[in-house]
Amino acid sequence: DAGITQSPRHKVTETGTPVTLRCHQTENHRYMYWYRQDPGHGLRLIHYSYGVKDTDKGEVSDGYSVSRSKTEDFLLTLESATSSQTSVYFCAIGDSMNTEAFFGQGTRLTVV
């Protein structure tokens, strides 16, 4: 998986609690992404980063924040989890512009 580690791989949390998902890469790629995958919706971009401390919103960013303080780490935070955020979350990385994205194994998050 191109040197991408997502943690945790599975998490169950209660509504209203904060949650942080971590993506760690060993490829020194410039671009990092967070997607969520839901049945019938495919993958939708939450946030992405184009460098350290450089991030931007994707199409479904409400309720999520991100941080990238080092090239290798990209954190996704749900400030106050809701049941609608139950999903599988994928981190991806990319090197050169518009070439391809490499995906991690995913984190299955359940909000009860």
């Binding site: 671009y31 495919g42 993958l43 991806a92 990319g94 518009n98 070439t99 994205a101 995906f103 194994q105």
Partner: protein, 114 residues
Amino acid sequence: AQSVTQLDSQVPVFEEAPVELRCNYSSSVSVYLFWYVQYPNQGLQLLLKYLSGSTLVESINGFEAEFNKSQTSFHLRKPSVHISDTAEYFCAVSPSNTGNQFYFGTGTSLTVIP
């Protein structure tokens, strides 16, 4: 705005039969095109991509896709499928003006029947 449409959510096909998974996109700028495959409980793996040059691109496991600019399509084909091809397939586009963002279709579940 960009959008990717995969017209078939599920495609059952018998082993050794041909298959075509359809993908259409809309974009006001030039795009780069990708097909990804996802096996159960795994992440997405790149199957093939079109960046420039020949409009017909091939993968190492027998899949091919053809970029048709006039029809804004990038359909995926395989002349003879195997049981191991059973998976979810996603088409994706990366417009040339969006700073390396990727937009995905809703996926096609291919089931190969013995």
